[in-house]
């Protein structure tokens, strides 16, 4: 990837290397000093850990080419069940309330869903969809936006005008609506989480492009760009080696905050039935199912929402902390 190369090139000189390392270490320690940002980081780390584990677990049969089929690590732990398998009739009780309720039991700490599956297992396994969608689609928006924004800001003039009008256009349609239209039409009427990821990613390209562009506009005027131009470095390489790395920090902050927004939107998408499809456990999709049981089992609608809230809050707190650490101007 161009970005990675650019960073490596940049840190080739010994003095720059020390400086860069000092910068990142400094940022990290600043984030850790901030109590709320630290807790945000803990939440993010926990959610990432859970989703990595559940991702490996639920894709085990694919990873082993079917040698271990329909088996989950989680089943070997007493608190988990298979996240997708519906218990045979008579075995699992449906719509059980959580353990602290008089009718609940500790074997299903958060109760069971309308099909009799353990809700706690499904909440835990739901993390991977939200988080992977959040990160992957933010990455798509990030990479696409960086390229468009950098080119637009660096060259200016006609290219800038055309690109920015395009960006404004995508910006003008509410993301949720654009993503639903994209998902439904591109998938030919059978929406799926893959299309949702792609749709969300593409929709967020303009957002990133705008931020990168405004950064590039200020970086462009720097002396080192002038120097690089004077010594005959190609424009393409100037963008790659100097412009992008130097406009990086604010976009990184934005990307962290954007992961939260993405998870929020994808939850809405799944809630409406255009994201993850059953039986995949996903928080938004679980809220969709529980919508029909609001009178009979209140808790089904509470847990997935709380899971979304805590995850997004984690990303937001961490992002805010990162912003304070990287940009002392906004620090209050």
């Amino acid at each position: 990837m161009a970005l990675g190369e650019a960073q490596m090139d940049e840190s080739s000189g010994p003095s720059e290397d020390v400086e860069a390392e000092y910068g990142w270490r400094y940022t990290f320690s600043k984030v850790m000093e901030d109590t709320t940002a630290r807790w945000g980081l803990y939440v993010v780390a926990l959610v990432l850990l859970i989703s990595t584990y559940t991702f490996i677990d639920s894709n085990l049969s694919q990873l082993t080419f079917g040698a271990i089929s329909d088996f989950t690590f989680a089943e070997t732990l007493p608190i988990f069940d298979h996240p997708e398998r519906i218990p045979p009739p008579g075995e699992g009780e449906e719509n059980m309330p959580p353990a602290f309720h008089a009718d609940g039991s500790l074997s299903n700490p958060l109760g069971t869903d309308p099909s009799g599956r353990d809700y706690f297992t499904r909440i835990v396994y739901g993390a991977q969809v939200s988080v992977s969608v959040g990160i992957v689609s933010t990455l798509i928006g990030f990479v696409g936006g960086t390229i468009i924004g950098a080119v637009s800001g660096f060259y200016g003039g006609r290219i800038d005008d055309v690109l920015m009008r395009m960006v404004e256009t995508v910006y003008a349609i509410p993301p949720l609506i654009l993503i639903i239209v994209f998902t439904v039409f591109v998938s030919g009427g059978s929406p799926d989480i893959t299309y949702a990821i792609l749709g969300v990613g593409i929709t967020f390209i303009p957002v990133f492009a705008r931020i990168i562009r405004s950064e590039v506009l200020s970086v462009r005027e720097m002396d080192y760009i002038e120097a690089a131009k004077a010594s005959g470095v190609k424009n393409r390489n100037i963008i790659r080696r100097h412009v992008i790395p130097n406009s990086f920090a604010p976009v990184l902050v934005y990307a962290t905050l954007q992961i939260g927004v993405t998870i929020l939107i994808v939850a809405g998408l799944s809630f409406l039935g255009y994201g993850a499809q059953p039986p995949t456990p996903d928080w938004g999709q679980m809220l969709n199912t529980s919508h029909g049981y609001m009178h009979s089992n209140v808790w089904l609608s509470i847990w997935p929402g709380l899971a979304i809230l805590v995850t997004i809050m984690g990303f937001n707190l961490f992002g805010d902390g990162l912003q304070d650490a990287l940009d002392p101007r906004i620090n209050d």
């Binding site: 993301p175 949720l176 609506i177 439904v184 009427g189 409406l272 609001m294």
Partner: protein
């Protein structure tokens, strides 16, 4: 004179964006795998003749650019096409559903402004005191919670558990009380508010949280301004300083945020209308997507995109009108 020219300039700038919106929706709807007719007739056994007839009826056999030009010339004449599924003009369907959505979005903004501005000011004047921390936590939860989940929780508490407020539908104040079987206009007004309360809060919370954050930062910045120091030195009472000096300056960014957030609000309306069973444009959009009624989908997307563009232009112009520091000649 300058302001007039500025207004005209902003409108001219918006034209490419508006054209862009139609191009994007048109391409998404028409380049999808499987043409619109087959998508529309999904699952139904139809022979080639029927398909050919429908294609001719809607001009789908002609090349894409020709169809786009025809569509655009119709749009310019105020004709957004014809809903195949409902056999009614798209504009008529939209006009019928616009009222509830406007009522919902505007009331959500009213709620957001009425709560965010006082809370933001209180947080700024009592910085780092308990009141400030509480308001920051509220704002954080507000930006981290999906609006549809807030709606679900509100229904669970106020409609299902307490039974105080209705959980679905709206009462429209522009209809006569007899249509609902109410005794008169006071009851109509009362019921309108009762029905509107929960969806308004569900949709408005995110706006409230974002506005409150901005209001707080702006007020803090404004209170540190030289003019405030000077006023204090002259012995102007703190209340007057807040009201006359700090407040007015701090409101300008709020206007911009309102305009830009219109996009999230319109997207959020889709989810809120779904949760609360409100027959607005958002629900119409979901119904259109469900039946793959592509003329209706294009019509809704274009109208919503235009609403956003117009909203942004209005905020830009009011910004320039209120703030004398804005120079009309510059763009961006």
């Amino acid at each position: 004179m300058g302001l007039l020219r500025y207004t005209a300039g902003r409108v001219v700038q918006a034209i490419p964006v508006l054209i862009g919106i139609t191009v994007i929706t048109f391409i998404l709807a028409n380049l999808a795998p499987g043409d619109p007719v087959r998508l529309m007739l999904q699952g139904q056994e139809v022979n080639q003749e029927v398909i050919a007839r429908i294609e001719r009826q809607y001009g789908l056999h002609r090349p894409l650019h020709e169809r786009y030009l025809t569509y655009m010339s119709n749009v310019l004449q105020g004709d957004l096409g014809h809903s195949i599924h409902r056999d009614r003009p798209v504009t008529a369907l939209l006009a019928q559903r616009a009222g509830p959505t406007l009522m919902l979005v505007l009331s959500a903004y009213a709620f957001a402004l009425a709560t965010a501005i006082p809370l933001g000011i209180i947080a700024a004047t009592r910085r780092n005191e308990p009141t400030d921390h509480v308001s920051r936590i509220v704002a954080l939860i507000g930006v981290s919670t999906p609006s549809f989940w807030i709606g679900i929780v509100l229904i669970l508490i106020f409609a299902i558990q307490l039974g105080w407020l209705p959980s679905s539908g709206l009462v429209y104040p522009w209809r006569s009380p007899d249509q609902y079987g109410y005794s008169g206009y006071p009851e109509l007004a009362y019921q309108t508010i009762r029905h509107l309360l929960l969806p308004m809060i569900a949709l408005g919370t995110l706006q409230m949280a974002t506005l409150m954050r901005v209001e707080r930062t702006q007020m803090i910045e404004s209170l540190q301004g030289e003019y405030v120091k000077l006023a204090r030195a002259y012995g102007v009472p703190e209340r007057t300083i807040l009201r006359k000096h700090a407040f007015q300056v701090a409101q300008l960014p709020i206007i911009t945020i309102i305009g830009l957030n219109l996009s999230t609000a319109l997207g959020g309306a889709v989810l809120t209308e779904y949760v609360f069973n409100i027959n607005g444009i958002g629900r119409l959009f979901l119904e259109a997507i469900q039946s793959l009624d592509y003329q209706l989908i294009m019509g809704i997307t274009i109208v919503i995109g235009t609403m956003f563009v117009v909203g942004v232009i209005i905020t830009d112009i009011s910004y320039a009108y209120i703030d004398p520091r804005v120079t009309y000649g510059e763009h961006d």
